[in-house]
Amino acid sequence: MKMKKLAAMALAGTMAAAPAMAELVIPDLSYRTGPYAAGGTPFSDGYQDYFNLLNARDGGIGGEAIRIVECETGYNTEKGVECYESTKGEGALIYQPLSTGITYQLIPKATVDEIPIHTMGYGRTSAANGEVFNWVFNYPANYWDAASVMVNYLLDENGGDLSGKSIALVYHNSAYGKEPIRTLEELSAMHGFELSQLAVDHPGQEQKSQWLQIRRERPDYVLMWGWGVMNQVAVQEAANIGFPMENFIGNWWAGAEHDVTPAGAGADGYKSLNMNRVDASLPVFDEIRTLVHEAGNAAGDGSNMGSVLYTRGMYAAMLASEAIANAQDIHGVTDVTAAMVRDGMASLEITEARMAELGMSQIGPEFSVSCENHGGSGLGIVQQWNAADGQWVALTDYIAPDDSVIDPLIAADSAAFAAENNIEPGCL
């Protein structure tokens, strides 16, 4: 009798535990504290709110509830690795490291653990080569795409001819900041513009020397690869020296609201790239407001909704959930594993019809991922800050990068990585 009772209890326990085991676990390596919190908080709010919306509206993905496991990295690489190690055992399906430094550390670890990483517009650019980086994806665009999109935009602005023009690159003096240099050097040789490089040391609180140099040399355009306080100071210094803001273009990590608001009216006209469109009137926001915020399940206080980085976080969550849904379709099961999600990512197709269906029409470009191409289309838009309205305004449609320049660079860099790490390129 006693044994029967114990067996019944064990069975009941197993049944009770079953739904928890079938949860879709998605870690959020957030950074809501420290010097970069102003960027990390809205991204994580958007990332989590979208998954909470899916839970509230659809019961998760394919009927499986999503469980978000948040871990604070403070944008610190060591803490980021600790977060990865402490969360992967919970059945993590996909990681968004949210830092190039953390990404570099996680690439070998996640490859061994067979958990896919999505580094959206950051991380190791050559991870776009899926035959070398089987477990890493950087769609819809990467840094080298961004550099090429900037130059293509300037070509458009100058009637297709940049010869004789001078372009200064102001960059964070780190691996991240140096990412576009090789691409810009290639493009400089191709289009005949003069490229000068101005490094800014971390954290970038003091940039007087760099902007005095720009004032002396008067380049036609300034491009910026900045992050954190470097962005706000650069925009302020550019305004101080009277540099024409419409000729100053930051990359997509230098184009959030908090990058420009401290400079007030001086920031008016500053431009930046974006990998996704910002549109606070998207129907998905109404759903989030109703089903997540008003239900008391929001990740933040709602003040970030519709901002550049909130939208990007939400967009990242949408791409992750679509990959999971794709994996469920491919494998015919709902409680997918990380390896199955990788398959879903490797054959992901994002169409305008699907984005419209999700209430976020034209939020990003249409693109498809393949075993060979983990980088997506590489398209980006140029947006401009309107200080009076306090809004980013899209100036262009999605602009394509110059693949004839980018592809050989990706092939060379990924081949070098494969050689260093004894990787035999190929599809899984």
């Binding site: 504290t33 010097p35 102003a38 490094a199 020397s209 007030g264």
Partner: protein, 332 residues
């Protein structure tokens, strides 16, 4: 005059003004070290915290709103009023005095007689604690500090000097904010010197700085003096926080400005107010000139951070106590 020469002068002028901003941070370190022998690692975070508090009070932000909302299920963030700049500065100073009292009452009072390294470690803990409290109290978003400080280059200076060189010279660029910072720093230093020379509390502060035991024996309250010194350091931190925060918005990387003060202290000495000023000016000019003449043209730029330390180390070789520091002679 050639444009290159004039631009060299422009770099020196801007270096001097950058040096004033560095000195503003260094002053807070000097005040506390001089009076108590404590190297206050938290000085940069104090600048951040005071600027956060000022911005929060000015905008009518409810302190600890996130915590209150999480506990009580409310949705409050702002009181709905804006506080005038002057009143907000006074209220912030009150907060910094309360902070000074808390530091004395709950931390250093219990560490009297401990080794300097223990006191230093306590300030590291204090820095992280204060950063966390600042985050909890005011949130981590970037705040615009609209205290009416001017921004942009001085057009008057630019126009008046543009004729000095040829067509390649566009006039001197002098940041109006840096000019204000220079004036404020002069007033602040004059005020601190006057306070320490001509007031009873100031003299007591100097007495404690010279010899704790002797000061105690003539009835000076060590506790009061330490609260006073930490309050003054809070005032200096607020001024530094306003000047740096006006450039970049008030954000958590503001605490990293302390890194700019370290070479200034090494060069100027840890115990001298004039040393902090002169050290700041030398570091400011030295790093900017090196970047202009050697760093940018030959080394790829971004030399300022490390060159400031090289400059400070060079001085240390010849004067280990810094330019104005007290020479320590131990007889055995």
């Amino acid at each position: 005059m050639s444009a290159d020469f004039l631009y060299g002068i422009e770099v020196v002028l801007n270096g001097l003004m950058a040096g004033v901003l560095y000195a503003l941070v260094a002053l807070g370190f000097v005040l506390i070290y001089k009076a108590s022998g404590i190297f206050n690692y938290a000085q940069g975070v104090m600048a951040l915290f005071s600027a956060l508090t000022l911005a929060g009070i000015m905008s009518g932000q409810v302190p600890f709103a996130h915590l209150i909302n999480a506990i009580f299920g409310t949705d409050i963030h702002y009181f709905g009023w804006n506080v005038p700049v002057l009143a907000a500065i006074i209220l912030t100073l009150v907060v910094m005095v309360i902070f000074a009292w808390c530091v004395q009452r709950f931390v250093f009072r219990h560490l009297v007689g401990q080794e300097p390294i223990i006191l230093f470690m306590a300030t590291i803990g204090l820095a992280y604690f204060l950063e966390g409290v600042g985050d909890l109290m005011w949130g981590s978003d970037i705040k615009t500090l609209a205290v009416g400080l001017p921004q942009g280059g001085s057009l008057w200076v630019e126009d008046a000097t543009s004729g000095l060189g040829g067509d390649d010279f566009y006039g001197f660029f002098i940041d109006k904010l840096d000019m204000v910072a220079t004036v404020v720093a002069i007033i602040l230093v004059a005020g601190l010197i006057a306070f320490s020379q001509y007031t009873k509390q100031g003299r007591a502060m100097r007495a404690v700085a010279d010899d704790h035991q002797a000061a105690l024996s003539v009835g000076i309250s060590l506790n009061f003096i330490w609260v006073l010194v930490w309050s003054l350091a809070g005032l200096v931190a607020l001024v530094a926080g306003i000047m740096w925060g006006a450039k970049s918005g008030v954000q958590f990387s503001l605490s990293l400005i302390a890194l700019k003060a370290l070479p200034v202290l090494m060069l100027g000495g840890f115990t001298s107010i004039p040393g902090a000023i002169v050290g700041g000016l030398i570091i400011g000019v030295g790093e900017k000139l090196f970047e202009y003449l050697i760093g940018a043209p030959f080394l790829g730029g971004a030399t300022e951070n490390w060159f400031a330390y090289v400059l400070a180390l060079l001085f240390l070789v010849f004067r280990p106590q810094g330019l104005f520091g007290e020479r320590i002679i131990e007889r055995v």
